[in-house]
Amino acid sequence: MKKNEPIRELLCHSLKKILLIMRIAVILLLFGFLQTRANSAYSQKIRLSINFLNTELVNVLDQIENETEFLFLYNEKLIDSNRKVSINVQNQGIEDILKLLFAGTDVGYSILDRKIILSPLENGSTIQQQKTVTGKVTDSSGASLPGVSVVVKGTTTGTITNIDGKYSLPNIPDDAMLVFSFVGMRIQEISVAGKSIINITMEEETVGIEEVVAIGYGTQKKVNLTGSIDAVSGEELQNRSATKVADLIKGTSPNLNITMNSRGGEPGASSSWNIRGTGSIQGNDSPLLLVDGVEMNLNNLDPESIESVSILKDASASAIYGSRAPFGVVLITTKKGKQGEKVHIEYSNNLSLASPIKVPSFVDALTWATAYNQANANAGTTATYSDEQMERIRGYMDGTFPYEYDPNNPINNIWAGRRNGNANNNWPQIMIKDHSFSQKHNVNVSGGNEKAQYYISGGYADQPGMYTYGYDYYKRYNYMTNFTSKITNWLSFNSSVKYSKSKTDYPLGETTVGRDHFFREIIMFAPMMPMYNINGTIQCPLVRLMQDSGRDKTESNDFFITLGAELEPVKGWKTNFSYNHNVITSKNFVNPRPVMVELGDGSFGNIGKPASTYESTYSQNNYTLCNIVTSYEKKLGNHYFKALIGYEQEETMFSNLYATAANIITDEVPSISTALGATTVNDQLYHWATQGVFGRLNYNFKEKFLLEFSARYNGSSRFAKESRWGFFPSASAGYNISKENFWADIEPYVNMFKLRGSYGALGNQNVSNYLYLSTIPITNELNWIINGERPPYARVPALVSDDLTWETITTLNLGFDAGFLNNRLGLVFDWYDRKTSDMLGPSVTLPYILGASTPQSNNAELLTKGFEIVLKWEDRISSDFSYEAQISIGDSKSTILKYKNDKGLINTWYDDKEVGEIWGYVTDGLIQTAGEEMPDQSYFYSKWTPGDMKYKDLNNDGKVNPSTSTLDDHGDLTVIGNTTPRYNFGITAGFNWKGLDFMMFWQGLGKRDYYPNIGSTIFWGMTTGYGSSGIYEDSPALNYWRPADEANLLGPNTDAYFAKPYFTSQTNKNRQTQSRYVLNASYIRLKSIQVGYTIPPKLSNKLFLQKARVYISGENLITFSGLPKNHDPETIYASDPSNGGYLTNGVIYPISSTISVGVNLTF
């Protein structure tokens, strides 16, 4: 891992050479765009020279395959591929060569584009018949298909279609079923039912063992994979209402964990990605997200333009990306035009109606006030709601008091309504709308010939939010072209342009604390807060804030170009150059301003800013990635080799400029120029870069024994010179047992069985920039006026350790792929063991005297273990009916192996700690009678009375306390749960029946503990004070202890769930983290359901449509979870402060369930 000058020298030398080629390539590329080419068939164009003497036919065919793009398709049982042949031709066309090869044999051939199909010639050996069924088999383009096996189901009687795709079967009973099968095509079964002519069209199998999946810097046949790679088809992400790829892909692959962030369901909110659980406790453990090989913000991608998604989970699959992808890769391939594809124009849309789910609903004002006052009484403090106010609340609710507040003592302070009013407003429900309408549209054109293929797509998405007052939205415009042009046999160019413009527009909400705070206010502002003044004007400050606080608008442009060239001077030796540049510019405008609220006494209060202000931020992120990859592929007899080496570098430069000015002349024209007040300017700049060389070696023998080695030598600017470079190797192997001869007996049951194993090490450079450098933070504008100005100020640098280097992630992956019952049942299993060593952790937990957070250093170790299972059933009962179902389960569990915590303090990481552990006390029930026997709990509070909590004295010392909170001496604390999500699963089921299609997708978690944050009002209801509490329908909050003689309207409740509440910090004595409130956060959610109908071709053709489909779909329609009814299992975590949530659980933008309709039209 030391710096390696010779390698660099060599690298640079060869690079300079390559540059010359690249320059020519780029110039040619420009010409390539201008080329228009005649559509001449490949087969007529190609000329070959081959020379074989007495060689097995199979080798000749291989040679042709290697030198051309032809692919031979034949049934080994019917064509003798081991027949010895001799041939010597120079510069001949393929037809001539085939003529020579098969002259005098019973083998016929036909050339379909690049496919050459070999089949026995019809030899007139048809036997006398009583009833003969004949017909013709064609492919989807209408071309006849020779070599298709036609078998009478349940018998061995059968034949093969001839060169014209025709077949003839004698002596067929009326009730027979014919099975048509052909490599790469979907098996079809057709009932004879009196017919004597059966013509069928075979459809290409899109999913199956011949499937090709995208891997790092290339593609590979799925059957030859040795790593853990899951593929998701783009179709699964389409025709759904969600606008973002993250929301669509969630749950489709086991252990691909996508979670929402603290903005929850806000339009345009971002998501967090993770593969296989916790990978690092300090650094970032999200996977590398690539679109066509380049990192991209997936929010800016139109899901409709996705062709396929590969999820690379283990080290061998992602090793080629080295330190860029320690925690896997999500590889998205966009749609391209296809050779020989007729011009396709597709239009699709989705119109949806969203309804927010789990928006809290207040209990009525009287219940609310009664409970609050009881919490005051318990604490011996004055009632929040006075007797006089209680009377008004009662009167308002029964209609005898008409005002929302006391007209003789009107509200005279903008926040006082929640304390002094007497209304009964259900604020969360008032402030959040019931429905909002969203839409998505996409148009794309694709096509191609031998020389050029294109795909052009345009998309639009509009997602408004859920605010009743004010508005918010997310809009996105997408444009994409993918273009490939082949200039000569050995040179082609490709280019891709992706452009996305997104706009978000939000109300500022509370100008001083931001719009997240709005969700705190709507759930914690009491129902007593009046909506209106008696004169009819709005008094509610929340409404006024949403209407008038100013806007937070962002417009982001993501412009992405790829220019690439592929050279193939010799068949099998491909060199790809690619230059990618991505510019994301973003401008953000904010204009906070005064928000005047009319109060009950006629005066006005300002809840906005003191003066209209304007803030503007421009940012630009420039990202450049260049790579050169060269590979050579060769098949020698049964041996297949492929070698690949490449060089890659990437560079990012970010800059932003922020300016703000106060006292805007008019809110109508907010700008820096129209401001009279002081102006402040600030900026932010950073950059980083990586360089790496990588290589991969594949070998297989008869596709039976598979081997792969890959490695990357990588450097990152984020580390100091001495520890900058790292070498990350990996190896994997596969054994396709089902290709062994002895497997023949098992084959009828298990068609395919492959064992896989991989082992490799990767680096993690996902840490902050400049972490190894000690920098002095300097900030503008001290919060203090010195001599009439707010001067800048500097602070002490953080402690750093300059020997920071890569976290190394070593993964062992073992798995198998199996296919049963004619590959209708597929099973993929993976088990992994992923160790993160040299993990960043504090060098040591040090005494406070240090006065700083201890610097990070590479000294911790983490182990994550888990598995993935995908079980899939696919069957086609008839040409009219097919169905499929899939269950996938993933699991991960992480343990800290090493962490510098000599004292074994339990409130931080320690050796053998399981990630997610909750330490707490064991609940022993509530105290029911004064003076009843209980341990000494004075550690928490000096006084304990009936209705308070009792904890178990686990160590039997008569006292309940945490002792020293160390592993050796943790008093009565014990591990009471674990928040790690376990057993993430997805269930898909669907069918096609004639024109009708149905698909549903369930997603969930099998096991997870949740412990509500101490401030979570949606669970606890009342916390330490009235200002941070709230009581909702369907929450357990009112189930607190009340004495047997309780006279208030809530009545007695001695067998309660919660201890009695106190509106002081005393309440925390009963709210120690404890076993009773460990909740079950497992869930299952109907993520998506879709019913579509494809209009019969006869009908749609009349409308000049190749295909027309209408559908209705739904998202998030049903959820089952183990949580209280008012909790949503996803937002509850996204809003948890330990998870980066804002304030406390439930303070978050709600997510929605949607019902949508749409069409897919192909012209």
Binding site: T511, P610, N787, A794, V844, I849, N907
Partner: protein
Amino acid sequence: MGFFAMSIIFTACDEDFLQRAPLDEVTSLDYFKSPSDLKVYVNQYYTSYFPQYANHGSDYGTDNQIRTSVDQRLEGTRTVSTSGSISFGNVRSINYFFDQYKKVEEKFDIKDYQQYLGEAYFFRALIYFDLLKTYGDIQWITTELGTSSPELYNPRDPRNVVADNIISVLDSAAMYLTSEKTDGASRVNKWMALLIQSRIALYEGTWEKYHASDPFGVSNPHPEKYFNKVVEATTAIMESGKYDLYSTGKPSSDYKDLFALQDYSSNKEVMFWKKYNNELSRGDVSFTNDRNFRMETPSGNTFTKQMADSYLCSDGKPITGNSLFKGYTTLNDEMQNRDPRFSQTIAASNDVWKIYTDGTIKYWSEVYKKLNTSADYNAPGGYIVLKGYNPHMIYHVQQYEESPAIIYRYAEVLLNYVEAKAELGTITQADIDKTIKKFRGRVGMPNLVLTNIAVDPEWDFPFLSPILNEIRRERRVELAAEGFRWDDIARWAAADELIVGKRPQGFFASQITSINPFPVDEDGFLDPFKKAIPNGYGFVVGRDYLNSIPTSEIVLNPNLTQNPGWGN
């Protein structure tokens, strides 16, 4: 495009392609090169160490003021914290300054940077004074520590060592800091350093004296040394002639007005204050001061009867047995013939509450009428805080007031001086005339005559000399609600006299015309905590004067000891 691609790839061969230094931050090697670097560095401390006059005052958690719930320290219900830390971030921060500024010292003349060096000394003292008050003994560290420094495992240094160090640090501060008075809203000066020195010396001197026989005492106390330092520092300020009490010759309002002015630039008494300006703050929540707006209603914040009773009658004698005292029946009765600071600190019903821009005037009687009708009008002790309030509605703006806040005022200099002299036993009438006479003179009260002190049977400290009792009374009255009271109780070890087993009382309950939600004692006074603490405050005198050391820290550093009374 090709050339562009080429140039990109060529950079790859540049040795420095992966060498990326920060673009918008300087590394520590590039900082501390000029005096302005020092200035920008010390600016950070201004926001951290200046407790300003708060809305409704800041003597909660003492016998002067109460809120609606019982203070935990006084109640004696605090528990040892298991986790958490002791904040040494600023110790490291200021030490970093002292380690680094020498780079400037080599290149510049002391005159170019002595102000900032002086400020660094000043803030080092404030940083340590906070630790001293909270934890007592504490490690004295003067250089930035690394992760392997042996000092990390130092035992705690005795409090008097720390106090001596702080006092000597302030000598340095006073030496370097400017002696200009300035407008008080600019950089700290020499006189502020001396004021703080006298404050800390008085704190340590009295602490060592009155905690001498309890677990908080030091092994070899030298209270006189500190009292002499107080006298030395305060005398320097007094003799500089730069400051004097604010007085415009209006005894009935000067004291009250002092705390409600809109500008202190040329004020003789205010040594240091915080300025607010909306244009500069642009509504930054951490930087606004809507004190007048907040003080329109009591919102649960009140004075206690104990505070009210400490005001003398207008003859300079205590209320007990004084015919001038009109009893408690109404607040107006109670305020009659009393030290005028009573009615300038506590709102009377006939005081002006609001003056609107159109000239409309409202009186506090409106508030007293609505007492306890809602949370805003909650007043557990009855006595509404007036000190610091300006009735002109033009200055009342929720969130965005520009009311300035007093931080240091000259009155404390005089009070520190006279108390130190009394503690030394060298007090003369001349000392009183230089100090207490000025306070009394401002409000029209008779002077205190050393030889003729009226005996108060209710003296808080009957075992102390009459003069000390009266000086402590004067301090309580003059500095009421300014945040000194807890520190005074702690350094006087006075909780056993003032707190333990006691409950705060409010004014006479029958004068509340609306509903009174608070309990009333047998004499008819408000007794708001009667239910919460029937046996009075459970303050533990062997424990509660200091905070506990987090147990996790004791695990980390075996040389660390727990404070008295907290176990271990």
